[in-house]
Symmetry: C2
Subunit: 266 residues, 2 copies
């Protein structure tokens, strides 16, 4: 079934592997019969800082409360033009693909700011519309991520920490507004500055993984998702009910040992 | 013993609770006999996007490779003025305090960009200077964080996910460049838009927690840290050696059950 696909790219260099992957994904999805929009945050010079300057009819010009101003601007239909456009894209999409390099174990600032400014309170979430009652329920999100480090260092027992789990707060954020979060696709060992044989070897390796990625996109409807708890699993205090299934790695971890409260060697 | 203390504030409203906490921390540390610098990222309109425009003498004007340009600019002493100033502050500090609201389970974009641009390759880390051989070894970092949700929802079994563990990628990043990461201080239930009795109740509650925070700052030398593996715990492939102590919640989790590869209900 044809889908509306939004590809969001967050890399400062159009010729980068990230830029290449975003365009290849867009082309592959178009060829597959889908409608595609490509949002290149650096190309449009997206401003990632939520700030008073974005609210032309502020509710309180004397004191800036981001959530209150977001809700007010949503209600008054006075959101900044760029934010409204990005919201329209998200609401239009059945599938969103985020293409970004992992910088400091998270998304580049321009992409974090896309979330800070575009996921507006009152619009994309409210106190009663979250998680599986979220505005974006029925939509899917795929993270396509590059890391500089090789796969071994990014494995569960690797020195960089496991990439899929560094992405957990990001998964949680998209789930919060209702998305079904697909298993991320991660390209490891994507390094600049290589020359000669090392550059050739990297190119060959990445070409093979890129083919895997394009195949994964063509079978995206069957890609497994990350499991989350449902509305009925939480009590009135937002605490997990006894007997509810446990999906969060954080809860699993805590059941093994209380790590954060145990001072250890530095 | 007197310390050099750098407070980094990331909130768009100077009158916010975050702004207040940053100033109170600065005052308390000054009163305690320390030297203090306060870096207000919004006040200086810090640009969080790593981009070609920040490199006045680029190594390769035709194709922007962030790491390569950072290393080149560090070596040539041609870093952007703001980045150099922030690096000087970090290198000067014995203790860094990051004051920020948790937005989408992470730092605001302006603070993520401070990391993306200021933690320069070749300067604050290299392939041989990381973790416990990092440039910032001997320095401590404290995250002082506000959340909109109440404590129960931010507990290990709460619907928002545990705050300390949403902060894990951030902890990992600071550890990567050598910092000792102190247990974060989290203020829950910090909400704007309250009036009357609800606003009074919040004010009273936060005043008490604020006192706890100032006390914690005065005893910061004794504050426990987050444990991380040491250099000798990793093999040549950056894999944890058998028998090495396990600190990462991600590794602990993985030993319980392989979550990310198990498709579950959506």
């Amino acid at each position: 079934m044809p889908m509306n696909v939004l590809v969001v790219l967050a890399h400062p260099e159009p010729q980068s592997f990230n830029g290449h992957l975003a365009r290849r994904a867009a082309t592959a999805m178009t060829t597959g019969g889908n409608s595609v929009r490509l949002s290149d945050l650096y190309a449009e010079d997206f401003d990632p800082c939520e700030a008073p300057r974005h609210f032309r009819s502020p509710r309180d010009p004397a004191r800036f409360d981001p959530q209150a101003e977001q809700r007010h601007a949503w209600d008054m239909k006075s959101l900044a033009e760029d934010v409204q456009r990005h919201i329209d894209d998200v609401l239009w999409a059945d599938l969103v693909i985020l293409q970004f390099p992992l910088w400091w174990f998270g998304v580049p600032a321009i992409l974090k700011g896309w979330m800070d400014r575009v996921f507006v309170y009152g619009g994309l979430y409210t106190s009663s519309r979250q998680h599986d009652t979220g505005v974006c329920c029925g939509k899917k999100i795929l993270f396509s991520v590059t890391t500089g480090s090789p796969a071994a260092a990014c494995a569960y027992n690797g020195r960089e920490g496991e990439t899929a789990l560094h992405l957990w707060p990001l998964m949680y954020a998209f789930r919060y507004i209702g998305f079904s979060v697909l298993q991320p696709f991660v390209f490891h060992g994507v390094r600049g500055g290589l020359a000669g044989a090392a550059a050739d070897a990297q190119r060959q390796r990445l070409l093979a993984v890129e083919d895997d990625y394009i195949r994964a996109l063509s079978g995206i409807q069957a890609r497994p998702g990350i499991p989350f708890n449902r509305e009925e699993d939480w009590d009135e205090a937002d605490t997990l009910k006894p007997g509810a299934p446990v999906y969060s790695p954080f809860i699993r971890h805590r059941r093994v040992l209380d790590l954060t409260d145990s001072p250890g060697r530095q």
